[in-house]
Amino acid sequence: MNPDLDLSIERIIRAPRKLVWDAWTDPDSLARWWLPSPMLCRVDRLEVRPGGAFVTRMSTDGTEFVPHLDASFLVVNEFERIVFTNSVDSGWRPASPEPVAMSAEITMVDHEEGTDYRILVRHADPAAKDRHAELGFTDGWGTVADQLARFAENVR
Protein backbone atom coordinates (compact mmCIF):
# COMPACT_ATOMS: atom_id res chain seq x y z
CA MET A 1 0.00 0.00 0.00
CA ASN A 2 1.25 3.45 -0.96
CA PRO A 3 -0.10 5.97 1.59
CA ASP A 4 0.08 8.80 -0.95
CA LEU A 5 -2.10 6.98 -3.48
CA ASP A 6 -4.07 4.29 -1.69
CA LEU A 7 -6.71 4.08 0.97
CA SER A 8 -8.02 1.34 3.17
CA ILE A 9 -11.18 0.97 5.16
CA GLU A 10 -11.89 -1.62 7.85
CA ARG A 11 -15.30 -2.20 9.32
CA ILE A 12 -16.94 -4.86 11.45
CA ILE A 13 -20.36 -5.32 9.88
CA ARG A 14 -22.91 -6.96 12.13
CA ALA A 15 -24.25 -9.35 9.54
CA PRO A 16 -23.19 -12.81 8.35
CA ARG A 17 -20.53 -12.92 5.66
CA LYS A 18 -22.83 -14.61 3.17
CA LEU A 19 -25.29 -11.75 3.48
CA VAL A 20 -22.54 -9.21 2.79
CA TRP A 21 -21.39 -11.28 -0.17
CA ASP A 22 -24.91 -11.48 -1.56
CA ALA A 23 -25.37 -7.73 -1.18
CA TRP A 24 -22.37 -7.31 -3.46
CA THR A 25 -23.12 -10.01 -6.00
CA ASP A 26 -26.89 -9.98 -6.42
CA PRO A 27 -27.80 -7.23 -8.95
CA ASP A 28 -31.07 -6.27 -7.25
CA SER A 29 -29.37 -6.02 -3.88
CA LEU A 30 -26.39 -4.08 -5.22
CA ALA A 31 -28.71 -1.58 -6.91
CA ARG A 32 -30.22 -0.77 -3.54
CA TRP A 33 -27.06 0.44 -1.81
CA TRP A 34 -24.48 1.12 -4.54
CA LEU A 35 -25.41 4.81 -4.98
CA PRO A 36 -26.43 7.41 -2.42
CA SER A 37 -30.13 8.23 -2.43
CA PRO A 38 -31.98 9.91 -4.05
CA MET A 39 -29.82 8.73 -6.95
CA LEU A 40 -31.23 5.59 -8.58
CA CYS A 41 -28.96 2.79 -9.68
CA ARG A 42 -29.37 0.29 -12.49
CA VAL A 43 -27.04 -2.69 -12.56
CA ASP A 44 -26.52 -3.54 -16.23
CA ARG A 45 -23.85 -6.21 -15.89
CA LEU A 46 -22.59 -7.95 -12.79
CA GLU A 47 -20.57 -10.94 -13.92
CA VAL A 48 -18.81 -11.77 -10.71
CA ARG A 49 -15.90 -13.81 -12.06
CA PRO A 50 -12.38 -12.91 -13.16
CA GLY A 51 -12.67 -10.85 -16.33
CA GLY A 52 -16.42 -10.42 -15.84
CA ALA A 53 -18.14 -7.13 -16.59
CA PHE A 54 -19.22 -4.70 -13.88
CA VAL A 55 -21.45 -1.99 -15.35
CA THR A 56 -23.76 0.30 -13.41
CA ARG A 57 -25.76 3.33 -14.48
CA MET A 58 -27.37 6.09 -12.47
CA SER A 59 -30.44 8.25 -12.75
CA THR A 60 -32.05 11.12 -10.94
CA ASP A 61 -35.54 10.58 -12.35
CA GLY A 62 -35.72 6.82 -12.96
CA THR A 63 -36.16 7.20 -16.72
CA GLU A 64 -32.88 8.50 -18.05
CA PHE A 65 -29.85 6.53 -16.87
CA VAL A 66 -26.32 7.79 -17.48
CA PRO A 67 -23.05 5.87 -17.17
CA HIS A 68 -21.73 5.43 -13.66
CA LEU A 69 -19.22 2.60 -13.64
CA ASP A 70 -17.78 0.56 -16.50
CA ALA A 71 -15.31 -1.84 -15.00
CA SER A 72 -14.18 -5.43 -14.93
CA PHE A 73 -13.50 -7.94 -12.20
CA LEU A 74 -9.93 -9.07 -11.76
CA VAL A 75 -10.20 -11.61 -8.95
CA VAL A 76 -13.19 -13.31 -7.38
CA ASN A 77 -12.91 -15.78 -4.48
CA GLU A 78 -16.43 -16.77 -3.52
CA PHE A 79 -17.56 -15.39 -0.15
CA GLU A 80 -14.06 -14.01 0.47
CA ARG A 81 -12.72 -11.52 -1.99
CA ILE A 82 -13.67 -9.34 -4.94
CA VAL A 83 -11.19 -7.23 -6.90
CA PHE A 84 -12.32 -4.97 -9.71
CA THR A 85 -10.83 -2.10 -11.67
CA ASN A 86 -12.16 0.78 -13.71
CA SER A 87 -8.91 1.04 -15.65
CA VAL A 88 -10.06 -1.81 -17.90
CA ASP A 89 -13.66 -1.41 -19.04
CA SER A 90 -16.26 -4.16 -19.36
CA GLY A 91 -15.09 -4.83 -22.93
CA TRP A 92 -11.49 -5.21 -21.68
CA ARG A 93 -10.49 -1.93 -23.31
CA PRO A 94 -7.96 0.16 -21.37
CA ALA A 95 -9.78 3.16 -19.95
CA SER A 96 -8.97 6.55 -18.41
CA PRO A 97 -11.89 6.94 -16.02
CA GLU A 98 -12.85 10.05 -14.07
CA PRO A 99 -11.90 11.13 -11.53
CA VAL A 100 -9.06 8.61 -11.22
CA ALA A 101 -8.20 5.07 -12.25
CA MET A 102 -8.26 2.59 -9.42
CA SER A 103 -8.57 -1.01 -8.41
CA ALA A 104 -10.64 -1.94 -5.39
CA GLU A 105 -10.02 -5.07 -3.34
CA ILE A 106 -12.91 -6.07 -1.08
CA THR A 107 -12.27 -8.80 1.48
CA MET A 108 -14.66 -10.45 3.93
CA VAL A 109 -13.64 -12.64 6.84
CA ASP A 110 -15.86 -14.18 9.54
CA HIS A 111 -15.80 -12.23 12.78
CA GLU A 112 -17.43 -13.10 16.10
CA GLU A 113 -19.72 -10.09 15.69
CA GLY A 114 -20.42 -10.65 12.02
CA THR A 115 -18.07 -9.86 9.16
CA ASP A 116 -14.65 -8.27 9.16
CA TYR A 117 -15.03 -6.19 6.02
CA ARG A 118 -12.05 -4.49 4.39
CA ILE A 119 -11.49 -2.36 1.35
CA LEU A 120 -8.16 -1.51 -0.20
CA VAL A 121 -8.33 0.96 -3.06
CA ARG A 122 -5.21 1.44 -5.13
CA HIS A 123 -5.23 4.57 -7.27
CA ALA A 124 -3.31 5.59 -10.33
CA ASP A 125 -1.47 8.86 -9.89
CA PRO A 126 -4.07 11.55 -10.67
CA ALA A 127 -1.35 14.19 -10.99
CA ALA A 128 0.19 12.30 -13.88
CA LYS A 129 -3.16 11.88 -15.60
CA ASP A 130 -4.13 15.52 -15.26
CA ARG A 131 -0.77 17.08 -15.92
CA HIS A 132 -2.06 18.57 -19.17
CA ALA A 133 -5.16 20.04 -17.50
CA GLU A 134 -5.93 22.73 -15.01
CA LEU A 135 -4.83 20.67 -12.07
CA GLY A 136 -1.44 22.34 -11.93
CA PHE A 137 -2.37 23.13 -8.38
CA THR A 138 -2.20 19.48 -7.38
CA ASP A 139 1.38 19.85 -6.22
CA GLY A 140 0.61 22.44 -3.61
CA TRP A 141 -2.74 20.94 -2.87
CA GLY A 142 -1.84 18.82 0.11
CA THR A 143 -0.16 21.81 1.73
CA VAL A 144 -3.21 24.03 1.32
CA ALA A 145 -5.50 21.39 2.77
CA ASP A 146 -3.10 20.80 5.68
CA GLN A 147 -2.84 24.49 6.45
CA LEU A 148 -6.58 24.95 6.36
CA ALA A 149 -7.07 21.94 8.60
CA ARG A 150 -4.52 23.34 11.06
CA PHE A 151 -6.14 26.74 10.91
CA ALA A 152 -9.49 25.26 11.81
CA GLU A 153 -8.00 22.56 14.02
CA ASN A 154 -10.40 23.36 16.81
CA VAL A 155 -13.12 22.33 14.36
CA ARG A 156 -13.06 18.75 15.61
Binding site: D4, L5, L7, I9, R11, I13, R14, A15, P16, K18, L19, V20, D22, A23, W24, S29, R32, W33, W34, P36, E98, P99, V100, M102, Y117, I119, V121, H123, P126, E134, T138, W141, G142, V144, A145, L148, A149, F151, A152, E153, N154, V155
Partner: protein
Protein backbone atom coordinates in the same frame (compact mmCIF):
# COMPACT_ATOMS: atom_id res chain seq x y z
CA UNK B 1 -15.13 18.61 -12.36
CA UNK B 2 -16.07 22.09 -13.58
CA UNK B 3 -18.70 22.38 -10.88
CA UNK B 4 -16.19 21.22 -8.30
CA UNK B 5 -13.69 23.85 -9.43
CA UNK B 6 -16.36 26.57 -9.34
CA UNK B 7 -17.17 25.53 -5.80
CA UNK B 8 -13.50 25.76 -4.90
CA UNK B 9 -13.26 29.24 -6.44
CA UNK B 10 -16.10 30.39 -4.21
CA UNK B 11 -14.59 28.79 -1.16
CA UNK B 12 -11.19 30.34 -1.62
CA UNK B 13 -12.71 33.73 -2.33
CA UNK B 14 -14.65 33.40 0.90
CA UNK B 15 -11.49 32.44 2.76
CA UNK B 16 -9.34 35.16 1.17
CA UNK B 17 -10.37 37.81 3.68
CA UNK B 18 -9.01 38.22 7.22
CA UNK B 19 -12.41 39.13 8.71
CA UNK B 20 -14.02 36.02 7.29
CA UNK B 21 -11.12 33.82 8.32
CA UNK B 22 -11.43 35.21 11.85
CA UNK B 23 -15.09 34.20 11.83
CA UNK B 24 -14.22 30.65 10.74
CA UNK B 25 -11.56 30.49 13.41
CA UNK B 26 -13.94 31.76 16.08
CA UNK B 27 -16.75 29.38 15.05
CA UNK B 28 -14.33 26.49 15.30
CA UNK B 29 -14.72 26.93 19.07
CA UNK B 30 -18.51 26.77 18.84
CA UNK B 31 -21.57 28.67 17.55
CA UNK B 32 -21.81 32.43 18.07
CA UNK B 33 -24.34 35.14 17.37
CA UNK B 34 -23.82 37.62 14.55
CA UNK B 35 -23.77 40.46 17.10
CA UNK B 36 -21.03 38.82 19.11
CA UNK B 37 -18.97 38.14 15.98
CA UNK B 38 -19.42 41.70 14.73
CA UNK B 39 -18.17 43.10 18.04
CA UNK B 40 -15.07 40.90 17.86
CA UNK B 41 -14.51 42.09 14.30
CA UNK B 42 -14.90 45.74 15.46
CA UNK B 43 -17.20 46.43 12.56
CA UNK B 44 -20.70 47.81 12.16
CA UNK B 45 -23.41 45.20 11.92
CA UNK B 46 -24.40 46.01 8.28
CA UNK B 47 -20.79 45.75 7.03
CA UNK B 48 -20.28 42.59 8.99
CA UNK B 49 -23.46 41.01 7.60
CA UNK B 50 -21.92 41.10 4.10
CA UNK B 51 -19.16 38.82 5.33
CA UNK B 52 -21.64 36.53 7.03
CA UNK B 53 -23.69 36.24 3.85
CA UNK B 54 -20.64 35.43 1.78
CA UNK B 55 -19.58 32.68 4.16
CA UNK B 56 -23.08 31.32 4.17
CA UNK B 57 -23.44 31.48 0.37
CA UNK B 58 -20.32 29.37 0.01
CA UNK B 59 -21.56 26.87 2.54
CA UNK B 60 -18.78 27.46 5.07
CA UNK B 61 -21.27 28.40 7.76
CA UNK B 62 -24.97 27.98 8.50
CA UNK B 63 -27.02 30.66 10.20
CA UNK B 64 -30.34 30.38 11.97
CA UNK B 65 -32.51 33.11 13.42
CA UNK B 66 -34.20 32.67 16.74
CA UNK B 67 -36.14 35.73 17.86
CA UNK B 68 -33.85 38.68 17.26
CA UNK B 69 -30.64 36.70 17.44
CA UNK B 70 -29.00 35.16 14.37
CA UNK B 71 -26.61 32.37 15.33
CA UNK B 72 -23.76 31.19 13.11
CA UNK B 73 -22.45 27.63 13.06
CA UNK B 74 -19.49 26.24 11.17
CA UNK B 75 -20.46 23.80 8.40
CA UNK B 76 -17.84 21.11 8.82
CA UNK B 77 -18.97 19.21 5.73
CA UNK B 78 -17.85 22.02 3.48
CA UNK B 79 -14.29 21.67 4.71
CA UNK B 80 -14.32 18.34 2.97
CA UNK B 81 -14.37 20.18 -0.36
CA UNK B 82 -10.99 21.68 0.31
CA UNK B 83 -9.47 18.38 1.36
CA UNK B 84 -7.20 16.54 -1.04
CA UNK B 85 -8.48 14.12 -3.67
CA UNK B 86 -7.41 11.07 -1.65
CA UNK B 87 -9.37 12.20 1.41
CA UNK B 88 -12.35 12.75 -0.87
CA UNK B 89 -12.09 9.22 -2.24
CA UNK B 90 -11.81 7.91 1.31
CA UNK B 91 -15.00 9.73 2.28
CA UNK B 92 -16.82 8.26 -0.73
CA UNK B 93 -15.76 4.73 0.18
CA UNK B 94 -16.68 5.31 3.81
CA UNK B 95 -20.17 6.41 2.76
CA UNK B 96 -20.29 3.44 0.43
CA UNK B 97 -19.50 1.11 3.32
CA UNK B 98 -22.11 2.87 5.47
CA UNK B 99 -24.76 2.09 2.84
CA UNK B 100 -23.69 -1.55 2.51
CA UNK B 101 -23.69 -1.94 6.29
CA UNK B 102 -27.10 -0.36 6.53
CA UNK B 103 -28.42 -2.58 3.75
CA UNK B 104 -27.21 -5.89 5.19
CA UNK B 105 -28.15 -5.09 8.76
CA UNK B 106 -31.70 -3.99 7.92
CA UNK B 107 -32.56 -6.60 5.25
CA UNK B 108 -31.63 -9.74 7.18
CA UNK B 109 -35.14 -11.14 6.93
CA UNK B 110 -34.87 -11.25 3.15
CA UNK B 111 -31.87 -13.56 3.12
CA UNK B 112 -33.02 -16.66 1.24
CA UNK B 113 -30.28 -18.78 2.85
Amino acid sequence: MAQYLAELDGLFLALADPTRRAVIHRLGRGPASVGELAREATMTLPSFMKHVRMLEANGLIHTAKSGRVRTCVLNRDQFAVVEGWLAQQRRLWQEHTDRLENFVTTHKGKDPA
